[in-house]
Amino acid sequence: MSDRTIVPASLSLPLPWRDILPWTIFAALALLAIYFVAAEEGATSIIPGMYVHEFLHDGRHLLGFPCH
């Protein structure tokens, strides 16, 4: 590792917002992934057909999401 390794000056300080904000794009990706498990081809649909719905059927029910 180079000298660019970021180590918090103290464990008693919060992580700076400027370090966190660029990574929140991953939150959008995570929410999209959850959407596919939870609702795709159920309430709304991006991909036509019912394959995604049927494939993820058991997980969707057991994780607590409404399904057919």
Partner: protein, 254 residues
């Protein structure tokens, strides 16, 4: 720091996913199978009645076989869900660490996971409980999904507000009073939201109550396994990483 947390969160999410899959396979799938048997019996009765009235039903084509749904399908769903929540968990951890509460990494992680379990799953599910196959009208899926997601959004929003309130009150009134007041405000908010939002009750009268109960317990257990794994494993690994970073410092790293 943040990318490390993010990768760690998703990896811990995958570990959690494996455990959730195992739990779901053992305790959840038997209930799904029982619900599908019930559905099949109902469909058969309906088909017989239709036949008597001269209506010939065309059987629905099976897109995905039951073994695939209960195997790779369940595995994929659970792994994607858990890894995604692992990533979200890490980002929220990065944001709240030493901000929302002034605790070490393990305690922050455990508290965050407990809060996530309650506000993302438990409370929305008390209003709109998980249902096995054959419960629920296909026509109302959009309506039911909208209601369930509304309840999640309201519950998460209430936690954010309650947490901000707790921080304000803690300065003047002490930790205990602040924490209890925040919990009270959260509960009040979700009870009000829950009583305003319409109820959904589509369980067929003849559906076996035992199957419904065991299905919901299995669903509860899967979520509890996921959140507990996220909170405890992420916290332990992060505490170790933080401590190593402090002891070694950047100069000591190879």
């Amino acid at each position: 720091m943040v990318p490390n947390l993010l990768v760690r969160g998703m990896l811990v999410g995958l570990i959690a996913g494996l455990l959730v899959f195992g739990f779901g396979k053992v305790f959840g799938e038997p209930q799904v199978d029982r619900a599908i048997s019930f559905e099949a019996a109902m469909d058969e009765e309906k088909a017989k009645a239709d036949e008597a009235n001269g209506i010939h039903a065309v059987p629905e084509p099976e897109l995905v076989s039951r073994p695939v749904q209960a195997g790779w399908g369940l595995f994929t769903g659970v792994m994607v869900y858990s890894a995604a929540f692992g990533g979200l968990f890490a980002l929220v951890f990065a944001a709240v660490y030493r901000r929302a509460v002034n605790m070490g990494p393990r305690a922050t992680s455990a508290l965050l996971a407990a809060t996530g379990f309650v506000c993302v799953y438990l409370v929305p599910n008390l209003k709109y409980p998980a249902n096995p196959p054959s419960v629920g009208e296909p026509e109302t899926i959009g309506y039911r999904t909208a209601l369930y997601f509304s309840m999640i959004v309201l519950s998460v929003g209430a936690v954010v507000l309650a947490s901000a309130l707790r921080k304000q009150l803690a300065v003047r009134h002490g930790e205990w009073t602040a924490a209890l007041a925040a919990i009270g405000v959260y509960l009040l908010a979700v009870i009000v939201a829950g009583s305003i939002l319409p109820s959904v009750d589509e369980v067929p009268g003849s559906f076996p109550a035992g199957v419904l109960w065991h299905f919901r317990v299995a669903s509860f257990g899967m979520q509890a396994v996921m959140w507990a794994t996220l909170g405890l494993v992420f916290g332990a690994l992060t505490e170790r990483a933080f401590t190593d970073a402090r002891v070694l410092g950047p100069a000591a790293r190879p």
